[in-house]
């Protein structure tokens, strides 16, 4: 059994490195979605999550036999993220018009 060497592992970036970065990014995005009070911040968290997924796609595309499939999906995700941002900002504008705030804690009219 070969001994695990951190230096060597860091020096030779492989699939795992990208996955770890993606996981960290996803966690950051999730953190922002769950904890930020401002709707805009939440939306930015969503963008982070989407981008972490993108990293995954590209990484799998690079290190497996899948060739360009990952790139294609990545491009789709970017486009959809753009569309989503447009729709989401429109929703935010409407929320602001109605509630006069973008603070998520104050928007709870669905409370049972």
């Amino acid at each position: 059994m070969t001994e695990f060497s951190l230096i060597q592992w860091l020096a030779e970036p492989g699939l795992n490195h990208f996955l770890i970065v993606s996981a960290i990014l996803f966690s950051l995005g999730l953190m922002a979605v769950l904890s930020k009070r401002n709707v805009i911040m939440v939306l930015m968290g969503v963008e982070l999550i989407l981008n972490s997924a993108n990293i995954n796609f590209i990484a799998f595309s690079r290190f497996t036999e899948l060739q360009l499939d990952g790139h294609m999906i990545g491009l789709f995700v970017i486009i959809i993220a753009a569309a989503e941002a447009a729709v989401a900002l429109a929703i935010v504008l409407n929320i602001f018009n109605r509630f006069n705030t973008v603070n998520l804690d104050d928007i709870s009219s669905l409370k049972g």
Binding site: L30, V33, L34, S35, V42, L104, D105, I107, S108, S109, L110, K111, G112
Partner: protein
Amino acid sequence: MFIQIPLLILLLPLLGFLLLIFFGKPLSRYSDWLASGLISISLLLSVILLVFKLSVHPDESVTTTFDWVTVGTQTISFGIMIDNLAAIMLVVVTLVSSLVHFFSIGYMKGDVRYSRYYAYLGLFSFSMLGIVITNNLLLMYIFWELVGISSYLLIGHWYEKKSASNAASKAFIVNRIGDFGMFIGIMILFVNFSTFAFESIFESIAAGQLPFGTAGWLTAAGLLIFCGAVGKSAQFPLHVWLPDAMEGPTPVSALIHAATMVAAGVYLVARIFPMLTADALLIIAYIGAITALIAASIAITQYDIKKVLAYSTISQLGYMIMALGVGAYTAGFMHLVTHAAFKAGLFLGAGSVIYAMHNVLHKQHDHHTDAQDIRNMGGLKSKMPITYATFLIFTLAISGIPLTSGFLSKDEILAGAFGFSTLNGHWILPLIGFLVAGLTAFYMFRLLILTFHGEPSDKSRIEGIKESPLVMTIPLMILAALSLFFFYSFNPFGASSGWFYAAIERPASIVPELLQPASNSLFHGAVSSIHTFAMILSILIAAGGVLIAFAIYQWKKVSADQLAEKAGFLYRGSQNNWYFDEVYDKVFTGGILFLTKVLRWFDENIIDGAVNGIAVLANGVSRISGWVDHNIVDGLVNGTAATADRAGGLLAKFQTGKVQTYLVFIIFSFLVLFILIL
């Protein structure tokens, strides 16, 4: 020939009825001639038909049928059957009916419901002719009931009189009792042979088929159909309606209660004769004999001229039924024909007398004296010579004095009963027969003497009596002529050589051999060996009856009152119709009233009690059910609702309304699933 003419004979009186019932008011003044004209055409056609039948087809019965109603596979046909029996009967009915029509022109003059009267006469004639020509039991039953209803209408013609409307109801109801039996009898035959036609029924029985497979049912079916005859022909024990039916106009009595309606029963028995078993015939013979005796014994003490004739009619019908029962088929039917003539004549003669009496009493403004009571008459001989002469001929005929038609038929009946008794020892039948012959001669001459001979009870009243108009006396003369022997046989002492015996022959029995009555040849042998003796005996007995009547009422050798006193309870019983009406009133009316009282008590106490009990029970049950509903069912329903409410409240806590909380739930659940699956 055998379709169109009988149909015309049948439908002409119906046409008269329809015209008069719908156009009675405008036709009122001509209704008599219209109705009489139509029935006279029927009479003419009947005579033509009879002559044609006897000369061209003497031995056949011609049947024509049309399909009438088809139900499923069962077809009921309307049929016309013309045999010698029907052809002769058609002439009898139309003849008496048309004479009564003409007589009524005089008798009913100025009546309040003149056209209505003729309309009903037409309806009656139609129904009676229907009975005669039909070939099946169902149609006969329908016409039978039509006769019942039209006789009801005629008897109740003067319905303002309480007694008349009661008599009409009584006649109808008593008849219905007999008809009920007849209907059951018809149904027994129909269920077994699925046909109503006489011929087909007879064919089936002759082929050995019995109703329900036993001979007892055949006897029962015959006797049940005979029940109808018991009702219509006023036989014991349903004879009580006929005397009361005298409340109708006298010509109606002549038509219904002498010649046609009451003859329908005899005709029916003659029609079903082949299928009657020996047992059934014996019972029929006894019923006829009992009826003849009871009615004759009542007739001898009656004072109402029509009542005497009514009881004499019942008695003579008893003769006919007895004749059929003992197997003297031709004699019985011949007596029906001869009796129709002389009894119609007697009733019309009585009508003529009553008419004259009534006119006199009306002129004297005497409204208390009974115009029908023979004690108020007497000495009418010289005032009403035609009525007297014809009445005398009729009386001779009914008494069975030689040279009359009545002698021919009655002598044959007595000989038949005598012959029957020599075959099987039922000697009581000829005994009653001869006794009744004597009684008949006695009471008829008593009537004649009290009405026409002797001293009038009130001179001034008798002075005013006038002979009835020609329209009334001509029918009397025609009937008197028909009561003489030569119309039926050229030999005044024996009918068996005449055309009547040639035309009407006793039909062969078709019941199984063991049940058959004595065969025709055996019967004829027995009859011919005692015929001369029976004839001499019957003449002697009739003469004896006449002599006694003369001795008591004409020459006053014996006092009638003393005799009555000596006879005591016999006299009172006879005077009061042997209390039949009272007994029926007590037993049936009283019995039904008592039964209704019992039923009422039962209703009030038991049925009402049960109903109330059920109500109380239902009340209790509904209370319990209400409690259960209120507490258990409602509890369950409310419990369900409350549970749902609580569960909802619990679950609502998860709905914070905050998007991020939901997201936390989603991610948490996702993680849980993730861990579980991996």
